[in-house]
Amino acid sequence: MTDIRSGNSAFDLIAASAAAAETRRRRVRIRNFGVGVAGFLVLLLLWKLGVMVFHVQPYILPAPEQVFVALWSGIAVSPASPLGWYLPLWSTMSNALLGFAIGAVLGLLFGSLMAEFRPVETAVMPYAFALQSLPKVAIAPLIVIWCGFGDGSKVAMAALLAFFPMMVNSFAGIRASELERLELMRALSASRLETYYLVKLPSAAPYIFAGLDMGIVYALLGTIVAEFLGAQEGMGVAITKAQAVTDVAGVFAALVVLGATGVLLHLIVRWIERSIVHWADRGKH
């Protein structure tokens, strides 16, 4: 009887220590969240004090509450209202996501071809590097000339900016495939295509997701830049409109909307990555 009781208490101890560890982790998470919120409030307070103490004019730097009012006035309307954020955000997002999809697919394709075929690498690499070192937003005027002021130039800019991180990352990721795994496929007489999609592509997945993460933010950037150069709708238009009437609070509010969108897109990519590449960094034997 004593044995059984002591056995039970050992299990109880293990369970209790696991529960304690979980509580500790939760407490740390709550504390981190608290620190984040506190830091944000301090920042707002400093901003407000700065504006008050130095009598900064609202057309230079609006007070935080003015930005909030501008932000809210765009949120608290019907989604179909031309005054809301919804229509311009939808326009920007749809163009950015379409461009992102095109750029990502092309980037993966080119990166894969370069990694798989040396001649392609030799032929394409110099241009890739030249284009990569070029500030790509400087190409935007050309893109507008070629694709017009409509959605085409926005999609094209988004695709162009999303293309490079995807190409470079998928190239690097495929080249980083482990030799032992490639030898396994060789010992199994696997075809090149089989080796590519069963070993190289999954090996490159962590790199590819890093490329997607960068690419989606760049695609948003590309769309906004193209919108600055001329567009009928979109967040870039909302910003230039507000700027034209020195509605600086409106500009700030638009930036907040764009920033939040960027963070959301990043989180979505990370979430997809975690569910697909769940095996990465775990149990490499």
């Binding site: 795994r181 030898e183 010992a187 007489s189 089989e194 070993v199 997945a205 095996w279 149990g283 034997h285």
Partner: protein, 279 residues
């Protein structure tokens, strides 16, 4: 060094005579004849990795290759796996020349080398899906049996990172047997495991081997492992890699670690191998 290679040369003459070799070659499943392999170092200097290696292995035999690092045992394994080509000499399996990867040869690598993005089942069936494989088909029952024998029943849908190192290596063994090969090549399969797990894995491997009846070539640098598992222990010398002695382990199966280790036969063999390796 001069002394070592001279000693190795003398020992090499102790290997069976040419006529005896020819006789055994006829009944051999695997025949390695006069194989030479030369590597070039990074500096471009040629290194003789294997020097006229002859080896015959009968169907169903368990042969262990032992030797110090750099004796060319991995080179020999890569040649048999079709991952490298010999510079001279031939190897054949069942009379067919081995000059590239063959479905008749299953390979177990040093680390389990499982694909982490696939489940256990996806990993063990991989060989049936690639290289012109027709899918799992009628191999399914045999594979499920093998998983059962290897103590992996119920783990089919787990990912490799959810398994222990020993279990991962057992998955790798089942994968190597997926195509029902004649020859199973194992390159220090348990080198990464701790001593106790390794001993257990040796017993497991003996069981799997006895159940499957495959011919096995296992490379190891553990003398105990070689004697415990092998019907024969082939001792190799360091550069240039040569076979210096081919020893028969005359201990009945199934062998049990607690009985085999420390038995007079084991101790005598271990002493002989150690002397050869120190030579």
């Amino acid at each position: 060094m001069a002394y070592t290679s001279e000693a190795a040369g003398q020992l090499a003459t102790a290997v069976p005579t040419a006529s005896a070799k020819a006789a055994s070659a006829r009944s051999a499943l695997i025949a390695v004849e006069g194989v030479v392999k030369i590597y070039s170092t990074v500096a471009g200097e040629p290194v003789l990795a294997l020097d006229r290696v002859d080896l015959n292995i009968r169907d169903g035999e368990f042969v262990c290759l032992v030797g110090p690092s750099g004796c060319g045992k991995t080179t020999l394994m890569r040649l048999l796996a079709g991952l490298d080509r010999a510079d001279a000499g031939t190897s054949s399996l069942g009379g067919k020349l081995l000059d590239g990867p063959s479905p008749e040869v299953g390979v177990v690598f040093q680390q389990s080398n499982l694909l982490p993005w696939f489940t256990v089942w996806q990993n063990v069936t991989l060989p049936l899906h690639v290289g012109g494989g027709k899918g799992v088909g009628e191999r399914e029952a045999a594979l499920r049996d093998l998983l059962d024998i290897a103590g992996l029943k119920g783990f089919e849908n787990k990912y490799p990172y959810e398994l222990s190192g020993g279990m991962q290596q057992r998955v790798a063994i089942v994968r190597a047997l997926a195509r029902d090969p004649k020859l199973l090549l194992m390159d220090e399969p348990f080198g990464a495991l701790d001593a106790l797990t390794r001993e257990r894995m040796n017993a497991e491997l003996q069981r799997i081997w006895m159940a499957s009846g495959k011919t096995v070539v296992l490379i190891t640098h553990s003398i105990d492992e070689a004697i415990f598992l092998g019907d024969r222990v082939v001792v190799m010398s360091p550069r240039p890699g040569r076979i210096v002695r081919d020893l028969v382990v005359d201990v009945r199966r199934p062998r049990v670690a607690a009985e085999t280790f420390g038995s007079p036969a084991h101790v005598a063999l271990a002493r002989e191998i150690r002397t050869l390796l120190d030579g």
